[in-house]
Each structure stands twice: as structure tokens, then as C-alpha cells.
């Protein structure tokens, strides 16, 4: 019964899709076999059914590479290698060899002792002879123990052999079974994407063979021989290069720090100037004034709840005698954040404008964020020495990336049509930046400022390492003397500083968002 609508017939039985031609094209060789097996795999509901590929079972990883199944190649060769190592150990692994060798050494020593005991007895030294005999007896006991252990280990070899053989058989069955299922998936992918490997390729199979031969031989050598050659356990190069390069770097560091001393000192002085200003403001001003200003500011920008929290945090800091140190820390991080923002926003604008600058800058930013902080402390100490300005520089290395990234991101997210509209009304690039781009990127830039401040704060302990003082120093000292109480109190003070700054800025930032 077939009705027809237009040219398409509506059939009672849906015809089967004929995949044979494309499977033949895909497989290259054994097309009929794969058509049959793929059909079987595709017919099973779970996608797994019983199918066995003898080629894969016999050649394992080699079949997988020849067919372009690199994933299977690694799985097959790894599994095979584990059991081949076991097999190797079982067959020629000299299991217990070290124990037998020890037993043998003890036997020699035992014989020596016995000889000495005999010599002593001949010389009439009965006491000495008894002592030597006693020692020989102990050696004999140890020898017997070692021999027994060696025998157990050697017997274990037989067990290993059995496990390895069973394992290999199971792996071969697995390899034969999984092959067609994996190959069918590759076929399905290949239908939509002709760059997927198809056909049987002997050259690539050969490459697989070379890899396997190399890996198997070297690995077996390493695990199954008592004394593998050094060349395979350690990279065959001494430390000559290492020492030469390290001293070369030393030389250049010294040269740079001598010749550019004026530059480094200038930077240090500049930072010191800003820091002194901020420090005078926070530390020099009487504490009630500073405290009141901070609480009022928190209230104005983030509401009564944050103000109450801020008051509590400041009282904690003051009661525990951290006031001076906290303000010094805030001055340090305030200077670092200010410099980050002052440098970071223009850089962010530049990166947003120039794709080339962004492409070159991005790896540097990644480096700044991923390099462990102790590593960049080294050049900072080399060039700037220790103290607060180098501490600020170290914080800046960590704090700059977020403000740059988020400024760039914010500017790039400004809708193109709004910028175009401003341009259509005759705006200059500077006007567009000031009136359109910066205002629209403000939420992102503010998030960047916030991130930067918190990043700088997270550096205070590390900055204390190079004598930047502040709360970080207390934590550092507590760490050195395992003074738990002091360390935790100082740590909590840092935490409170962070929370207060974060809340206040976020409150401010939400405000600007609301106001439009």
C-alpha cells in the first residue's frame, strides 16, 4: 500500500539507509566486512554489541594507527605495555635478584668471620673467636632470611607471569571487540567532516610501529632489568649548561643594575613620593579623624549595613593595636592600586584600539598573572633593592593585568553603532572616547579597579618578604616562629581591610550603575 503526495511516496515500511557505498569509500579495504559490522553496531540500541575485529585483536595499536584511531592507539599500547612489563619481569626479570645478591654478600662475610674465628682460635684467643663466631651466626641468620625473601620474590615471578598472560589475552579480546565500535564512530564523524582520517594507511601504521617499538623496548629495559643503563633514567647532560646560563644571567643582572641605577632610583623615588603623601594622610592624621571619615564614606557609598560592618572592623583593628600597621598597609596598597589604575587604563585603551598591541601585550599579562610571585621578586630585589617601593612594584606586577584586561574588554563591548552614531555627528576620536566609550565601559573598568585593589592586597604578605612592612610583616614573623595566635589575628586584620575596601567600592559602583 503506497499513497503518494507529490513525488514523495509515503510507505508503510521505512526503507533501510544504504551505507555500503560510503562505508566502502571510508574503509578503503574490507568494505564489505565493515558495512556488515557497522550495520550491526548501528542496529544495537546501546551502541555496544558483540563484534570482533581479528585484525585489531592481533595487531592492536598498529591496527589503530593504520586506521587513524589515535585515541585507541594510546589506550591499546598503554594497556599492552603494563602487562608486557609484568610478562618481562616474570620471564627474565631476575625477581629477588637483589635479595640473592645480598644473601651472597652475607655468605662471603660469614665465611670471612668464620676464618677469622678459626685464626683467633689457633692463636689461642678463645674469647675473640667466640665473638667472631657470634657475629658469623648473625650473618648466617640474615643470609637465610634474604634467601627466603628472594625465593618468595622468585615464586612471585611465576604468579606475575600467569597474571600477565591472562591480562594480555583479555586485552586482545577487548581490542578486537572495541575496534569496530570505535571505527563506526569515526565513520559517522567522517560523514560530516572529510578531514577525519579514513582508509587504511600503511605509512602511518609504520609510524605507529616505530613509536611502539621505541616505547616498548625502552620501558621494558627500565622496568625489567636490575641495572638499566643511565642514559634512559636520566637526561644524558650534566649541569654544565645550567651553571653557565645561570652565571650569564647573573652577569647581565649586575651590569644592568649598575648602568641603569639612576633609572631604578628615579622610579623608586617617584613611588616613594606618592607613598609618603598617602602615608601622611592615613598614618599622620589622628586616628579618630581617619576612622570617622572612613565610616562616613562607607555609609554614603554603600549604606548603613556596610557602615556598621566597617566600624566593627576598624574597632577590631584598633583594639588589637594594628591601627598604625593597617594604615601603613592601606597606604601601600592604595599607592600600588593608584599606580596600577593610572598606568592600566591608558594601556587598556591602547589595547582596545590596536589589535596588534593587544596581541603582543596579552602573553605579557598572562605571564604577570601566572608567574609565581617569588620569581619576579628576584629581579625586583636585584634592581630596586628592598623596602616599600619595591614592595609596591611587586604588587603592581600582580595588580596591573585585571585593570588592563577589563578596560580593554569594556571598551570592546561598547556597541559599534553608538560609536558610529557619535562619529556620524562629527565627533573626534577623543570626544568619542570621553563621551561614549569610557562612560559605557565604566562598569567593566570599575570591576577592574576593584580586582586590582584586591590583587594588590593579596600581595601584602609577599611584599613584606622584601621589607615592605605593614600587616604582612606580622603574618610573616608569626609564620617564622609558628606563633599561631599572632598570625591569625594579623591575617584577620588583612581580611577585614579587604572586605571593607571591596564593599565600599562595590557599593559605589552599584550607585553609578543605578544613576545611569
Amino acid at each position: 500500500m503506497a499513497e503518494s503526495i507529490g513525488t514523495v511516496e509515503i510507505l508503510d515500511v521505512i526503507p533501510e539507509v544504504d551505507i555500503s557505498d560510503s562505508v566502502k569509500e571510508f574503509a578503503g579495504t574490507n568494505g564489505n566486512y565493515y558495512t556488515r559490522e557497522f550495520k550491526k553496531v548501528q542496529s544495537s540500541k546501546s551502541g555496544y554489541c558483540w563484534t570482533f575485529n581479528i585484525g585489531s585483536a592481533v595487531f592492536g595499536p598498529l591496527w589503530a594507527t593504520a586506521r587513524g584511531l589515535w585515541g585507541l592507539f594510546w589506550v591499546f599500547s598503554l594497556l599492552e605495555m603494563v602487562f608486557l612489563v609484568m610478562l618481562g619481569l616474570g620471564v627474565w626479570g631476575e625477581l629477588g635478584a637483589d635479595k640473592f645478591a645480598r644473601a651472597e654478600r652475607m655468605q662471603t662475610n660469614y665465611e670471612k668471620m668464620m676464618t677469622r674465628a678459626e685464626t683467633a682460635r689457633e692463636q689461642g684467643d678463645e674469647e675473640g673467636a667466640a665473638s667472631f663466631e657470634k657475629r658469623a651466626e648473625n650473618l648466617a641468620k640474615a643470609r637465610d632470611k634474604a634467601t627466603a625473601e628472594g625465593e618468595i620474590a622468585a615464586a612471585g615471578g611465576t604468579r606475575l607471569l600467569v597474571i600477565a598472560i591472562i591480562g594480555l589475552v583479555l586485552i586482545k579480546i577487548f581490542e578486537g571487540w572495541i575496534a569496530n565500535i570505535a571505527y563506526e564512530r569515526q565513520y559517522s564523524r567522517w560523514r560530516g567532516d572529510r578531514t577525519v582520517r579514513s582508509g587504511l594507511s600503511w605509512p602511518i601504521g609504520l609510524l605507529g610501529f616505530v613509536i611502539i617499538a621505541f616505547v616498548y623496548v625502552v620501558t621494558l629495559l627500565r622496568f625489567t632489568t636490575a641495572n638499566p643503563p643511565d642514559v634512559i633514567t636520566e637526561f644524558p647532560i650534566g649541569n654544565t649548561y645550567y651553571l653557565a646560563i645561570a652565571s650569564w644571567i647573573d652577569y647581565w643582572f649586575d651590569l644592568a643594575s649598575q648602568n641603569f641605577a639612576f633609572l631604578f632610583q628615579g622610579v623608586s623615588r617617584g613611588i616613594r613620593l606618592i607613598l609618603d603623601g598617602v602615608e601622611t594622610l592615613l598614618v599622620g592624621t589622628p586616628w579618630p579623624v581617619v576612622m570617622a571619615v572612613i565610616i562616613i564614606f562607607a555609609y554614603r557609598s554603600a549604606g548603613p549595613r556596610v557602615a556598621v560592618f566597617t566600624a566593627a572592623a576598624l574597632i577590631y583593628i584598633a583594639v588589637l593595636g594594628y591601627w598604625q600597621k593597617s594604615m601603613a598597609t592601606v597606604a601601600l596598597l592604595g599607592t600600588a592600586s593608584f599606580l596600577c589604575v593610572a598606568i592600566g587604563i591608558p594601556l587598556g585603551v591602547w589595547f582596545a584600539r590596536s589589535q596588534r598591541a593587544f596581541n603582543m601585550g596579552r602573553p605579557v599579562l598572562d605571564l604577570m598573572q601566572t608567574l609565581p610571585s617569588f620569581v619576579y621578586l628576584i629581579p625586583i630585589i636585584a634592581f630596586f633593592g628592598t623596602g616599600k617601593p619595591p614592595g609596591i612594584l611587586a604588587s603592581m606586577v600582580f595588580g596591573l593585568p585585571p585593570i588592563i584586561r577589563l578596560t580593554t574588554l569594556g571598551l570592546r563591548q561598547v556597541p559599534k553603532d553608538v560609536v558610529e552614531a557619535a562619529r556620524a555627528f562629527g565627533a573626534t576620536n577623543a570626544q568619542i572616547l570621553r563621551n561614549v566609550e569610557i562612560p559605557l565601559a565604566t562598569p567593566s573598568i570599575m570591576a577592574g579597579v576593584n580586582q586590582t585593589i584586591l590583587m594588590c592586597l593579596s600581595m601584602v604578605v609577599i611584599a613584606a618578604l622584601i621589607d615592605a612592612k605593614g600587616l604582612g610583616y606580622d603574618v610573616l614573623v608569626a609564620l617564622q616562629y609558628a606563633a599561631k595566635g599572632q598570625g591569625i589575628l594579623a591575617g584577620v586584620a588583612i581580611l577585614f581591610c579587604a572586605i571593607v575596601i571591596d564593599r565600599v567600592i562595590q557599593g559605589k559602583f552599584k550607585d553609578t550603575e543605578k544613576g545611569g
Binding site: D417, A421, F425, N435
Partner: protein
């Protein structure tokens, strides 16, 4: 003839835009070998945005450019104020060679001579409606009081009195686009460039804004370049229409010319379903009175008389009230033609 030339406000001559790194090479090849769009893409990896476009817009005219997405119409309109630089060709605005302007002169022209309206409004979200409308004046450095006066006036033109201190997000899409229009009008420009201004709005609001825009246009007589993908809109608003396909202008004409005499199958496909009632006039379908042979029972002296310039819609109204064919007259009232009912039906269907 000189008067005619003075009357031309916007003129593009053989404008080409080719996008891609090797645009200039591709342009040279186009000029010397005359290769097509496909070859440009294949040989130079460059995309032809607009190809050899020429048109001129007269003072007070609403010139519609109609095309589907990707036809290059938005690219074309951006050449007029050089938001996009042409790869080759000449552009004149109010008789000035736009391509020869210095950056400063170009900005000055954009700020004073041209108002632009965008498909997605492109308002500044952080500024009030007033500050948005006044933005072109702010760029020019006008005083705040002048900005407030002008924006107030401009907003009243588009019927948005009382919304000055709102923010764009507080307004509906239609109102936002009226703010966009007010902003374009704020600097009292000679030319309005409207890039699909009503396309993002729903049909009812679109219709309202079209009506409002037409009323405003009657009042202000701004020379307008109006981009749309909607032929109905082009016919409703346009004094003349240019139809674009694949970066080329395939036909320029009045709505009637386009509908009754499409240049090729592409345009014919477009106009097929357009109602001809308001676009086709009696003079197009009438039989000259000298050639008309009355059939039985017809007496032309009994026929109703209408001007030969009425449209088909009007003719239908007249014809339904009589058994006689309709007679058309010229300006001085002389009989010139006859429209029988058969001819009228044919005209409704074919437009000619």
C-alpha cells in the same frame, strides 16, 4: 540646466567599495579587466560591498534605497558622510567634493549638514533624552542653554514634549527612534540619512512613525536618503526609489515607474504583490478618446468625468456608481480619454 544642477543635493558617481586587504589590487583588476564579484572574491579574497553605484538626490526629495540584507544599501548610505571610504568613485554633497575634505572639514560637514538615524537607535544609554538630542550640538561646542533650547524644540517636532529628563531605557522602541530622529534634526541639517530607521519596530508602530515622518517631512522639506528593505515602505515614503541587488543599483525610478515598468525579473518579483491602486493613474490605463469605440448602450456624454491624474483607487469609487465608462479630462477640462470597466480591471491586475 544650471538650476537643475544646483538642485542636486547628494550625488554619487561610480562609487565602488571593495572590502579586504587586497581591495586596491582588486579594484584595479575590476577597472582594467572588468572582473565580476565572484572573481574578486576568488582571486583577491575581497568582498564587493557596492559596485559602480551612481545616483543623485534632488533638494527636498525622499530618495529610498531598497534592497534585501546584504545588498549593500547600508554600506552605500555610509559613503555619503564617509563613515565608509569608497574604494573608488566620486561623492558630492551640496556641490562639495566630500572626498577632498580635510578631517576637520569632514567633521564639520557631518555636524552641520547631515543628520543620521540608525536602525538600532544608537542612543547613549547613560545620557538623558535631552542630552542625547543635544549631543551633536555638544560636539560642536554649543553652550548649554542653546543645547537645551534646541533639544526642546527638536523633541517637540517629534511629539516627545515632557520626556526631556527621561533616560532612553525608560522609553519604548518607537519613542526611542523618535528621539533618534529628534537628534538627527537637532543641528537643522540639510540632509537626513536614515538607515532602516523603522525596521526594528513592530508593524503598527512602524506605520505610525512612517505617518509621522511624512507629516514632518512635508513641514521641513529635508532632503532625505532613506534605506529600507521593505518595498511597501519605500513606495509609501519615496519620491524616487533605487533598487539594489548584490551591491548594484538595478533600477531607479518613481514608485509608479518601478511598479508598472520593472527593469528586470528581480524587480518584477518584488513588485508582483504590491497593490497598484494608489500607484497607477488614470492616464496610464486610459484609451485616447479618439480611439475609443463605444459599445451598445454606452453614451459618453452620460459618463462621469474625472481628472486623468486620479489613481485607480479613486477610479474604482467612480466606476462602481455608474454603468457608463469613465471619461478622463486634462487640466483645462477637455475630454482626453476613456477608462472602461474591463480596462480598469486589467489595470488593477497588471498596473498598465
Amino acid at each position: 540646466m544650471n538650476d537643475n544642477e544646483k538642485d542636486i543635493v547628494i550625488e554619487l558617481k561610480n562609487a565602488w567599495k571593495i572590502f579586504g586587504e587586497r581591495a586596491s589590487e582588486a579594484m584595479a583588476a575590476v577597472e582594467s579587466e572588468g572582473i565580476g564579484k565572484a572573481e574578486v572574491l576568488e582571486q583577491y579574497g575581497a568582498v564587493v560591498g557596492i559596485a559602480d553605484c551612481s545616483f543623485s538626490v534632488r533638494r527636498g526629495e525622499i530618495f529610498c534605497i531598497m534592497g534585501l540584507s546584504g545588498s549593500g544599501k547600508s554600506t552605500l548610505v555610509r559613503h555619503v558622510n564617509r563613515l565608509i571610504e569608497p574604494t573608488s568613485g566620486e561623492i558630492y554633497l551640496l556641490g562639495e567634493d566630500v572626498m577632498k575634505l580635510s578631517p576637520t572639514a569632514l567633521r564639520e560637514m557631518r555636524a552641520k549638514r547631515i543628520g543620521m538615524v540608525f536602525q538600532h537607535m544608537a542612543l547613549l544609554p547613560h545620557r538623558s533624552v535631552r542630552d542625547n538630542v543635544a549631543y551633536p550640538l555638544e560636539i560642536r561646542g554649543e553652550s548649554k542653554s542653546r543645547r537645551w533650547d534646541v533639544s526642546q524644540h527638536s523633541l517637540s517636532l517629534v511629539g516627545l514634549d515632557g520626556f526631556e529628563d527621561r533616560f532612553p531605557r525608560e522609553l519604548s522602541g518607537g519613542m526611542q527612534q523618535r528621539v533618534g530622529l529628534a537628534r538627527a534634526l537637532a543641528s537643522d541639517p540639510d540632509v537626513l540619512l536614515m538607515d532602516e530607521p523603522f525596521s526594528a519596530l513592530d508593524p503598527l508602530i512602524r506605520r505610525q512613525l512612517q505617518d509621522q515622518f511624512m507629516a514632518l517631512s512635508d513641514q521641513l522639506h529635508k532632503t532625505t536618503l532613506f534605506i529600507t528593505h521593505d518595498l511597501d515602505e519605500a513606495i509609501r515614503l519615496g519620491t524616487r526609489i533605487a533598487i539594489m541587488k548584490d551591491g548594484r543599483i538595478v533600477q531607479i525610478g518613481t514608485p509608479e515607474e518601478i511598479v508598472t515598468n520593472p527593469a528586470d525579473d528581480y524587480v518584477r518579483d518584488f513588485v508582483q504583490n504590491i497593490s497598484k491602486l494608489k500607484l497607477v493613474f488614470a492616464h496610464t490605463i486610459q484609451t485616447p478618446i479618439s480611439e475609443y469605440k463605444p459599445v451598445d448602450g454606452e453614451d459618453l456624454s452620460q459618463s462621469p468625468r474625472v481628472s486623468q491624474d486620479v489613481d485607480l483607487d479613486y477610479l474604482i469609487d467612480v466606476a462602481t456608481n455608474t454603468t457608463q465608462p469613465t471619461v478622463t479630462t486634462d487640466e483645462s477640462g477637455n475630454d482626453v480619454g476613456v477608462v472602461s470597466k474591463d480596462r480598469l480591471l486589467q489595470g488593477i491586475r497588471d498596473g498598465k
